[in-house]
Symmetry: C2
Subunit: 321 residues, 2 copies
Amino acid sequence: MAVYTTIADDELAAFMSRYDIGQVISLAGIAEGVENSNFLLRTDRNNYILTLYEKRTNAADLPFFMGLMDHLSAHGIHCPAPITDKSGQILQQVAGRPGALFSFLNGVTAHQPNVVKCRQLGGILAQMHQATADFTMKRDNALGPQGWQPLLDSIDDSQTDLPAGLKSEAHAVLQDILADWPEGLPETVIHADLFPNNVMFIGDKLTGVIDFYFACHDITAYDLAICLNSWCFEADGSFNVTKSAALLAGYDAVRPLQSDEIAALPILCRGAAMRFFLTRFYDWINTPKDAFVKPHDPMEYWSKLRFHLRATSAASYGYWS
Amino acid sequence: MAVYTTIADDELAAFMSRYDIGQVISLAGIAEGVENSNFLLRTDRNNYILTLYEKRTNAADLPFFMGLMDHLSAHGIHCPAPITDKSGQILQQVAGRPGALFSFLNGVTAHQPNVVKCRQLGGILAQMHQATADFTMKRDNALGPQGWQPLLDSIDDSQTDLPAGLKSEAHAVLQDILADWPEGLPETVIHADLFPNNVMFIGDKLTGVIDFYFACHDITAYDLAICLNSWCFEADGSFNVTKSAALLAGYDAVRPLQSDEIAALPILCRGAAMRFFLTRFYDWINTPKDAFVKPHDPMEYWSKLRFHLRATSAASYGYWS
């Protein structure tokens, strides 16, 4: 949740003069995302999202993100579509920051996605993977396997309230994951952060996908592993195989999984759990105790990782071919 | 800026089932107000604001606030109108908190209100004062003159970065203000916090007033003094008498000021500046240095107070009768 920047009257007027989108009737900072400032901008013609990029977003990555959302929108994926100004520009300077205007997506994020929603998630994920096949811009995954060991090494757990020995245990598990990490699997642009709070629904109908600011090139099926982690565990930590079966079936119906991708699901799920465990472990220790945004509990993903260590094949996730 | 509480899917569904307002197509937490959590709720029929009251709002005051907004709406004042559920109830329990649904007001708040806006502000303020004449619920002003000395006494300035001697100087000025505080002036319900961020405009046209959570009974013209403080000083601390003249003329045209109210404007302005100086002084010292919401600079209102100490009559504010 955020809105770090406010927009002064004259800055808003200058911004609006660059577009042909009607007169402002409402501007509200909205509490979505912790990385950027987002505003719901209503004009007498339509609803829009105005995003200002705060320091945590690397400005050099913005053309990739804009290009990706534009590409996906053009391929029929419902996501925020960047809107060009009268001169054809997408990126703007607003209140001293890079900013961009996007189409507004109807829908509500699901905190507790059900089986019907999981099936649709699989479908849209496969559509996104297919739609990016001819997207030519590139971005490396800064939080991919190469980054995990340095991230773990950088964590000072000498004064943590987390279980003793967690870091050394994580080190051992990480060695196994990196040793087993698959090679030669299909790669595409992946969303890389498709948690339930980034997918919109009206009732049970999926209406769109948001927040592409972790998108990058990596193993296609790794994106699926991230979703299996974030959509298919219940609040009590149990794994709901009906949900994962629906997610995989929804995906497979659009983009049939290859046999090597299917075989790699357990290791990819371990890697995905490790990636979110590591960033949460780091944030847990490095976030000031009285910060407004509370860090997520890393033990949630440690528990998920332990489930995946016991998974022997894709059948553990309800995939039966 | 806030949104402290999130609404789970089943809680939203339960809430919606109590109303006859259509199907949800969007729910976004918005960054308005620091006291409560506000959500922009869009259905296939209309836009609404859903407010959840956090701990800082006294639940015992909610019936007064709801009643006031309902009363003002019924009298043609554009403000959030509380919406009743199918059984006629306004106050609900949502996510474990008291909450209420309101009509959505178009408009954008003005950070730098101009003369045209100041004139309209005067008009709507007078309309509100007239409209509450037959409103029968009561609420004392917890931040009125009786509260100023105890508030100042409670401030520990031993380790502040503010000018040395500020507290003792404030004490002396406060004694004078309390000694001169007027008696016998007309009293009504006042908004008591009608800063520019609580008034909406489309272009230069005033479209509504929000945030009634400081509303109370007090001296009617004291509300005007609060507006003179918050609308008529420029960013550099200078007083814009063209704006104040427009504000007073806009007010006077709707509800003609009595001679005793006119004469009391300087002392009322001193009191209003003191009230906001004191709460900011307190917050400046008592807000943790790394808090997400930064406290306002109390010296802004100390500087305004010094202007009012030099004002000798209503003519200093551009009121010429």
